[in-house]
Amino acid sequence: MSVIAPNFKLSEFIKSLLDNVFWIVLLLVLIGIPAVMMVLFFMEMPVIDGELLTPFLALTWLADPSRILPVVKAFMATDIFRVMAFPGFGFAALLAAGTIFVERKMLAKLQLRVGPFYCGKFEGILQLMGDGLKLISKEIIIPAKADKPIFWAAPVLFVAAAAAFVAFIPVAPGWVVADVEMGLLGVFAVIGFFPIITILSAWSANSKFPFIGGIRALFQMVSFEIPLILSLLGVVMLTGSLNLSQIAASQSSFPWIVFLPVGAIVFFITMLAELERIPFDLPEAESEIVAGWLTELSGMMYGLVQLGTYLKLYAFAALFVVIFLGGWNGPMVVPPFPAELLEEGIELGPIVAGPFPGLPLFDQAMLNGTLWFVLKTVAVIFFILLPRGVFPRIRVDMLLNLGWTKLIGLAFVNIFIALGLLYAGVLGPGGLQ
């Protein structure tokens, strides 16, 4: 019989476990609790139901769990929750992870194979986690002649720029990280950072293939930013606002894609190019320039760039939804929150749980809006992923030709359609909306 650990003794194993527990408890008591106390000493605690939240009060939650709800609500109203969790980074990262899984499985089905299969028992659902662990555990190799500070900073900046993009996206009425008046201009400003970061990363690697890839990425992003901005101008004219929340709210009766299909098509194509997805993945064309501007990135630096890429993909799909597909607007399908849970509680056999005055955590309109937003975003992401199974890569000259002549021309056609609709009085003030 083969054994993994030939010198295994149960008593020693238990002893080592107890040792570990001892050290953990000791460190917690000596360092952890004083540290928490220090933090509590300096931090201003929130006031909940007229009471200051003290550690003692927090401990009373153990006796009455329903008191957690106001605290959770108070936390959800903070900016840190919006940035970290719901409309911000956490929500976007979750959708991005789902996108990677769907992309792999869908592409596999298209190509008559199974895709990730073993990791996580069900259809390789944990494959992404395995990939992440692998990337974290890999050594990061920096080229000897690289400009090291910039080379290190570029992947982080890339993720930061992608996350900043996510911050502008309104997911549900009132649920947006940065609800600024000039939201769309802010989005354009953030998109403008990507070519700079890309060329910085590529140039600082001091290697030939990343350099060529970076130049290609620069060409591609700069030449497609113009039709990108122009294609959205039609919607801005019709709504008279640059605020993304207002643009989404203006489509309560019909989405703008009904009136501006040309703009939607131009925006979709430029979106594919900005995202460096097939057929526009020239900056990463592996048969020509190895992996393009990603060639010298290794380990988690590469992982960060991938994370940023998929965050960007989510953000672009969400922008398409907000601007052309009506954002969160949709028929009300979420049932209202059961009122008796608030007043009487729920009977669980002999005992009655509740009532829970803190509930519901999210109101009906927000849940419904989020549901429609996610459904539309997933549909758009699906159409972004689909060309990867169908098209080969195009060439730089064809790409520039497409961007500078055809797409810009179509974007102007779109602007004239919008102007025509505006002056004819079909839309805008006094029109349908």
């Binding site: 097939i278 048969s287 020509e288 098209f391 080969p392 890569r393 000259d397």
Partner: protein, 378 residues
């Protein structure tokens, strides 16, 4: 400290805009070779293919083994086309040893050879697809190859390196019921490769990328000595199965696929048409094959030739005409075996095709030459 660079890497006094790229041998778009490419912006100004990374001395090894034991290692240069790469050697050895091959064995050889040609072209097509960034065209041929590989496994017992052809016939007779299975699989295979047109050959992006790139004119194709699909894509009607029929190809109706354009697209389309032609040939051979009979003339151990003799035989392989020159000096081992391989002939055209092209066209033009690095190095 001064040191001399290898010739390909030597820095040249040229305009500083020109950048030298080493594409290979550890580049995803090179195969087991190196292409030294000089680019000016996006345009290739000079190209210097540098094969030789997988030289294994097959020809020298053949001088130390007798005519039978040479078989397994001589098919190593192109394991995906192992029946065809061995074919000229076996034909030459038969002529030297004076063996008359049974009729059924000839048909079995034709079937195996055509199946192997399809297997090779599918592999080639898969790589052509992924070189153009078309991942579906990588997975589909790689999966559909399995149909024919299963057939070859039934026929020879091995999936890739068959070592099936021997001087005097083939190693084993066909398994029972092979004809029906073969016909069914080949018909399905033909139906399947016709579907590739929708996703690959008629794809507008592919056409705009490969049309009018890397044009090899008819005169140049003949002058450089290219063979096979490259020559036929340039408008030269040249197929050894028709021009110099060996075994039973003269009894079969073989159609040669010729395209006039001579560009990268034509060079990628001709092998695809060849696969359909192979399916036709297999169906004809299955029909005309004698239903029973011997498939092998048993040789004595260590067969020898009479005296100093030489023979040159060539066949149409998946890449073009593949020749084998054998010199024998009345010993059990051949005195010299020289293979004239189509890959190397086709590679000669590469520098002239790439000059003036864009860097983005490099993978498609390079791989459209139907070049197999291992075969070129032997």
């Amino acid at each position: 400290m001064t040191f001399t660079l290898p010739p390909g890497l030597a820095l040249q006094k040229v305009d500083e805009r020109i950048m030298t790229l080493n594409v290979g041998p550890q580049h995803p778009g090179s195969g087991h070779m190196r292409i030294i490419v000089q680019i000016d912006g996006d345009y290739i100004v000079a190209c210097d293919p540098d094969p030789g990374y997988v030289h294994r001395g097959e020809e020298k090894m053949a001088e130390y083994r007798n005519y039978i034991t040479n078989i397994p290692h001589l098919e190593r240069p192109v394991i995906h086309d192992s029946c065809n790469v061995l074919y000229p050697y076996v034909l030459g050895a038969e002529e030297l040893l004076g063996i008359e091959v049974p009729e059924r064995a000839k048909y079995v050889r034709v079937i195996a050879s055509e199946l192997n040609r399809c297997i090779y072209i599918m592999y080639w097509l898969a790589i052509y697809g992924i070189f153009l960034g078309h991942s579906t065209m990588f997975m589909w041929p790689a999966g559909d190859r399995e149909l024919l590989i299963d057939l070859m496994e039934k026929m020879t017992g091995a999936r890739v390196t068959h070592a099936h052809f021997v001087p005097g016939g083939v190693r084993n007779d066909l398994p029972p019921n092979f004809e029906d299975v073969c016909l069914r699989q080949v018909n399905y295979f033909e139906k399947r490769i016709k579907e590739y047109a929708a996703v690959f050959y008629d794809n507008p992006i592919l056409i705009s990328r490969t049309k009018d790139t890397g044009i090899l004119s008819r005169q140049d194709a003949i002058r450089y000595g290219t063979t096979g699909s490259v020559l036929r894509a340039s408008g030269v009607d040249y197929d050894l199965r028709v021009k110099e029929p060996y075994d039973v190809y003269d009894e079969l109706d073989v159609h040669t696929n010729v395209m006039k354009e001579g560009d990268s697209y034509a060079r990628s389309r001709v092998p695809w048409l060849d696969m359909m032609e192979s399916c036709n040939i297999i169906r004809q051979a299955l029909q005309k094959m004698p239903k029973s009979g011997s498939v092998r003339v048993k040789l004595k151990p260590n067969p020898k030739t009479k005296g100093l003799e030489s023979v040159y035989k060539r066949v149409e392989s998946g890449r073009g005409s593949l020749g084998c020159y054998i010199v024998s000096d009345a010993k059990p081992e051949p005195y010299r075996v020289k293979m004239s391989v189509p890959s190397f002939r086709n590679l000669i055209a590469l520098p002239n095709l790439l000059k003036g092209e864009k860097l983005g066209n490099m993978p498609s033009v390079y791989w459209s030459l139907n070049y197999w690095p291992v075969e070129a190095d032997r």
